[in-house]
């Protein structure tokens, strides 16, 4: 392997890092919001909302992100006159917004499924105990269901964030030059695919390493009740809150 070449490649790839981070962060945050609305729709008991949420998840989980990005960007681009009439062209004109939209819609579908798994793992008895003391649905969700479900869904959610870090790479097909986009460009210039991918891999690995550690730390914090012995230093609830 050629150290100088790798170094140069690494530097050039780093140029795409801000965009990768930007897309990941924005889509993860927005995706979480959309996913929560989807989960709320599915639990709402209103058939139309439930049906909509199911259909949404079906379509966005069922087709490749690549195809979604392609159709949102190039596909909607074919309807410019109507989009202009609706004053949406300013949004769809920009590859950044299209990429962000596709990533957000896609991750929301996956995250809402992960949430559903978490919700299912909350023991019925604990929900009933909360209902029995008069908790409203919202309070029940906030105080009992979410803390237990979140703890449960965290490993899966960690998976999803990591996938999003990597999924931003598909933005390159709509001209957004993030890390993988630059890597592909370098590859078609030099054809040293393995070396370039190893550099890109290192960047993603560092990012994702940070994500996994953060998730693990959070998981540890959220599960004192699953650890073996009670904490030797009892948590002072009275003092801390």
């Amino acid at each position: 392997m050629d150290a100088a070449f790798m170094g140069e490649t690494f530097l050039r790839l780093l140029g795409g890092l801000p965009l990768t981070l930007n897309l990941t962060f924005a889509s993860v945050v927005l995706g979480l919001v959309v996913a929560m609305s989807l989960a709320a729709m599915r639990m709402s008991g209103v058939p139309a909302l439930d049906w909509f949420a199911r259909a949404y998840v079906f379509v966005f989980r069922g087709t490749p992100l690549l195809v979604q990005i392609f159709l949102i960007y190039y596909g909607l681009g074919q309807f410019r006159p109507s989009l202009q009439a609706m004053n949406l062209w300013g949004f769809f004109r920009e590859p950044y917004w299209c990429a962000l939209l596709a990533l957000t819609l896609n991750t929301a579908a996956y995250v809402s499924e992960i949430m559903r798994g978490g919700l299912q793992s909350v023991p019925a008895g604990q929900i009933e105990a909360a209902r029995a003391c008069g908790m409203s649905r919202l309070l029940l969700a906030r105080r009992i269901i979410l803390p237990i479900a979140v703890r449960q869904a965290l490993p899966g959610y960690g998976n999803e964030i990591i996938l999003m870090v990597k999924a931003t790479s598909l933005a390159s097909i709509i001209t957004m030059m993030e890390v993988t986009g630059i890597a592909h460009k370098l590859i078609s210039e030099t054809f040293r695919a393995i070396e370039i991918f190893i550099c890109a891999g290192a960047i993603y690995l560092i990012l994702n390493f940070l994500v996994t550690r953060a998730i693990q730390a959070l998981e540890y914090r959220l599960s004192p009740h699953l650890r073996n012995a009670p904490s030797p230093m009892p948590r002072l609830v009275a003092a801390s809150e």
Partner: protein, 236 residues
């Protein structure tokens, strides 16, 4: 040319080629997913009960394989794997290229990648189990394997199925990357068609429809499995 005549099943239409490619996608993803299930449950088991060293190794495995771009794994497997095999073959006779079949390399790559994801899904589900029921299994003298088969696995599935559904979708999509090995799966076939006819929309729409068809069947399967796995669970 309308999308319907473009996608027709006659000799001038791409329908047959697309459906065949969908079959390739489905089979490479399914093989990869199954390999991943085996790897994933082993890794999850190591993470939950292994020693410090083993846990560290399992942790490194999941971090690295989830952390690096999937394409890199596939490259290493396919081109790296061929290089290794070729050099081994070179020891015995005149050098030549020993091909790893694109399908095998692809399924193996999807397997070891999705295994990393599945191990996290399984581990998460395991922590949701009722400890008491596991103790009950121990107390009747079940050895580990029996307990795993009779008590843990059926209950882990309960909480793991939604997550596994996600990983299956992931494997399905990862199969698209396997095209670098020359395997003509659905997305590669669409790209070929799009490039040859310059009708990208028709091809990507058709691909989306075929992916949805695969998803329809598989999510029906997952729903059935979930209903079965959730038997005996009281819902509040």
């Amino acid at each position: 040319m309308s999308i319907f005549s473009l996608m027709s099943f006659g000799s001038e239409g791409w329908g047959l080629a697309m459906v065949f490619a969908a079959g390739v996608t489905l089979s490479v993803a399914a093989c990869g997913f199954l390999i991943g299930s085996v790897i994933g449950s082993l890794i999850a088991w190591v993470k939950l009960s292994g020693g410090v060293m083993a846990r560290g190794a399992a942790d490194a495995y999941t971090t690295v394989l989830r952390g690096i771009p999937d394409l890199l794994v596939i490259y290493l497997f396919y081109f790296g794997g061929s290089a290794v095999l070729s050099s081994i073959a070179g020891l015995f006779g005149p050098g030549g290229f020993v091909g790893v079949s694109g399908f095998a390399a692809g399924a193996a790559a999807i397997g070891i990648i999705s295994g990393a994801y599945q191990s996290e899904v399984f581990r998460g589900a395991y922590t949701a189990l009722n400890r008491g029921e596991i103790e009950a299994a121990k107390s009747v003298g079940m050895h580990r394997a029996l307990m795993f088969r009779r008590i843990i696995a059926p209950q882990v599935l309960r909480y793991a199925i939604p997550g596994l559904g996600n990983v299956w979708q992931l494997a399905l999509k990862e199969s698209a990357l396997v095209s670098v090995t020359g395997l003509v799966e659905l997305l590669r076939q669409s790209a070929i068609g799009a490039g040859s006819t310059r009708q990208p929309f028709s091809f990507y729409l058709a691909a989306a429809v075929l992916y949805l068809a695969i998803t329809t069947v598989s999510s029906w399967g997952f729903r059935r499995a979930e209903t079965y796995a959730m038997r005996g669970v009281r819902r509040a």
